[in-house]
């Protein structure tokens, strides 16, 4: 077993079943501090469910989930886990449609989460600057005062990534960030995620192999709720079991 003190995320023998169906089956996975990791796998492999478990949406039936080497996540709720420093982008881009792009980012600012703090909140200059920085990073300066609901699909994906950046989490979980994006947007997103991974640990779930290749990082193949293979993309792609799983469908 791996030493778990230097991991940002440590999953050991995690299982969860829905009505008898094992969505996650004895899954073990370790992510190092500061690592960028890609998770691939066919539809229904359990990728989203794995994120649900890490972020407190789903309780595992068995197994250990540790954050930063020592904090057990399985007893905490979503808000507590988010405030520990784990941010999550949903598979279906989810932003606050009736708020402006700016307000979406402002609501994601780290800290000030209690109702009382919110009621009397005043935006500080450095916080405004931080929002402007992130607007630039996600390339939405021009949409600053636009309602988020009027953004294109790709822009919503970026806004959601921007919201994660505002939270400034130690670990980002990014579920299918380039689904529905144009090629140009995909390239831009890969650049963005690589940039983010310079000072955050990031887990990216994706189907798009070209995109995963451009991330140039360690890859896990998930299949039927457990890890089928791990290594560089070239290595796992030449793994006969992996080829079987992908072509067998």
């Amino acid at each position: 077993m791996k030493q778990h003190t230097d991991t940002i995320l440590y999953l050991d023998s995690v299982s969860v079943s829905f009505d008898g169906f094992k969505a996650i089956n004895n899954l073990s996975l370790y992510i190092e501090q500061g690592e960028l990791r890609a998770i691939i796998g066919p539809n229904g492999a359990g990728k989203t469910t794995m994120m649900d478990i890490i972020t407190g949406k789903t309780r595992p039936d068995t197994g250990t989930v540790l954050f930063n080497g020592d904090t057990a996540l399985t007893e905490l709720d979503e808000a507590a886990i988010a405030n520990l420093g784990i941010g999550r982008k949903f598979q279906k881009p989810t932003v606050f449609e009736h708020h402006t792009v700016f307000d979406n980012l402002e609501l994601s600012l780290k800290g000030n989460r209690t109702p009382f703090e919110s009621l009397f909140f005043k935006l500080k200059t450095e916080q405004r600057d931080r929002i402007d920085d992130v607007l630039k990073t996600i390339n939405l300066q021009d949409a600053r005062n636009q309602e988020a609901g009027s953004l294109s699909h790709g822009q919503k994906q970026w806004l959601e990534i921007g919201m994660l950046l505002m939270q400034d989490p130690d670990l980002l979980l990014v579920d299918e960030p380039v689904a529905g994006m144009t090629d140009a947007e995909t390239i831009e997103t890969a650049r963005l995620l690589k940039d983010i991974s310079k000072n955050h640990s990031v887990i990216v779930v994706e189907h798009d192999m070209d995109f995963v290749k451009s991330l140039d990082c360690r890859v896990n193949v998930l299949h039927e709720g457990s890890v089928l293979a791990e290594g560089s993309l070239d290595l796992v792609q030449s793994n006969p079991e992996v080829i079987e799983v992908y072509l067998g469908r």
């Binding site: 979503e78 808000a79 988010a82 949903f90 606050f96 009736h98 609501l107 994601s108 109702p115 939270q167």
Partner: protein, 389 residues
């Protein structure tokens, strides 16, 4: 579709200042026209009209309280009549105790219905209500506490949507049944009535009626600004975020249940204040105020006026209740069908209500400008020029 939220919002803000201005004006004007203009004059406002308008205003405050939770936080409460009724009962209990030995049975302490039931002692929960300050505190505390307890369980167990609406109906229905029982000690199905005075002022006097009207108008204005402060704060943006994408808010680290609890309690307290102003004006409070249909009617006012606008529900409550008074007099048998029909038409054709629909908000604005120009012709040289914000 290109959204133009800002234009609509500016129109709504203008409309709000206009309506609130009118309210403030009538808060002084209506009592003055009642008290100081002779009854022969065409400008005289009869006392029954003062009280009727005062009653509408308490409904407007009630509608406002529902808009805060429904329009901004997505909590469709079908039980707000309960908070209104509890505020009303708290005030009613004070006025019962004020009757003292002037009741039919002349008991110095026990209200008539208790003497009638052959009770010997005042139940403990009636203690303190002889004190006006205590009663006012209870007007705020009882609805607030019920909302807190109810919300604590409902929001923590993440009951949302239709299920939440159903349990709010169940809550008010349960209270209806409970208050019907004589041994609850709230006057059973007759409720509390035969009130005489508050702070020594006769409830039937013109001065008292005018004062209650004034207070009701002020309460609506106060309620509006409380809600406005909340929805324009960051907390307001959080509850809209919760309304639109609850799980996104959770994964950003917001404890959704605390936010819901906060607005639900504030809203219940406002509804309680409305009830407390309502009861002295209508002179009675009985369990029918808890009827589930009442709570549904409030939601209709809000939907019609335009939820999520604060000013819309105020207008909705005033318009629908005026229409109700008119039609239940003129054509009593069709009023309920009209109300139902109105609701269906609104949902189909004006899903955002009167004030949420841009064309209607724009025509309100045109009337407002016309009126303003008529009142102050020199301040409006150019029609199309907007004052700098």
């Amino acid at each position: 579709m290109i959204r133009q939220p800002f234009i609509l919002r500016i129109l709504q803000d203008r409309l709000a200042s206009f309506i609130l201005g009118l309210l403030l004006l009538s808060a002084f004007l209506v009592p003055a026209l009642n008290l100081y203009v002779s009854p022969e004059s065409a400008l005289h406002v009869p006392s029954y009209v003062v009280t009727l308008l005062g009653k509408y205003l308490t409904y407007a405050l009630l509608a406002l309280s529902v808009d805060l939770v429904w329009g901004y936080c997505g909590i469709l409460s079908l039980g707000h009549g309960a908070f209104f009724a509890l505020g009303g009962y708290a005030m009613g209990m004070h006025m019962m105790r004020q009757i003292g030995d002037r009741g039919v049975y002349g008991d110095p302490v026990l209200p008539d219905f208790m003497v009638f039931l052959d009770w010997k002692e005042l139940p403990w929960y009636w203690y303190g209500f002889d004190n006006f300050g205590f009663a006012l505190l209870m007007v705020l505390l009882v609805p607030g506490l019920l909302a807190f307890i109810f919300g604590w369980f409902a929001f923590r167990s993440r009951v949302t949507g239709v299920y939440l609406s159903i349990i709010t109906q169940a809550m008010t229905y349960a209270l209806l049944l409970a208050f019907f029982r004589n041994d609850m000690g709230f006057g059973g199905n007759n409720g509390l009535t035969d009130f005489k005075d508050i702070l020594g002022f006769d409830l039937k006097s013109d001065g008292m009626r005018a004062s209650l009207f004034f207070l009701s108008a002020m309460a609506v204005i106060f309620g509006y600004f409380v809600c406005k402060f909340i929805v324009e704060s960051r907390l307001g943006r959080v509850i809209i975020a919760i309304r639109d994408a609850e799980s996104r808010a959770r994964f950003l680290g917001y404890r959704v249940e605390y936010y819901k609890l906060f607005v639900f309690v504030v809203s219940a307290v406002l509804a309680g204040i409305a009830g407390a102003l309502y009861v002295p004006q209508v002179g009675i409070i009985n369990p029918s105020e808890f009827a589930p249909a009442n709570s549904i009617e409030i939601v209709i006012w809000v939907a019609l006026g335009g939820r999520g606008t604060l000013i819309g529900p105020i207008i909705g409550a005033l318009v629908v209740n005026y229409a109700k008074t008119y039609f239940t007099g003129a054509l009593p048998e069709i009023w309920l069908y009209m109300l139902g029909g109105l609701f269906i038409l609104t949902t189909l054709f004006l899903p955002k209500g009167i004030t949420g629909t841009e064309s209607i908000a724009q025509s309100f604005e045109n009337y407002r400008l016309k009126l303003a120009r008529w009142l102050r012709p020199h301040d409006f040289p150019d029609l199309n020029k907007e004052p700098a914000e």
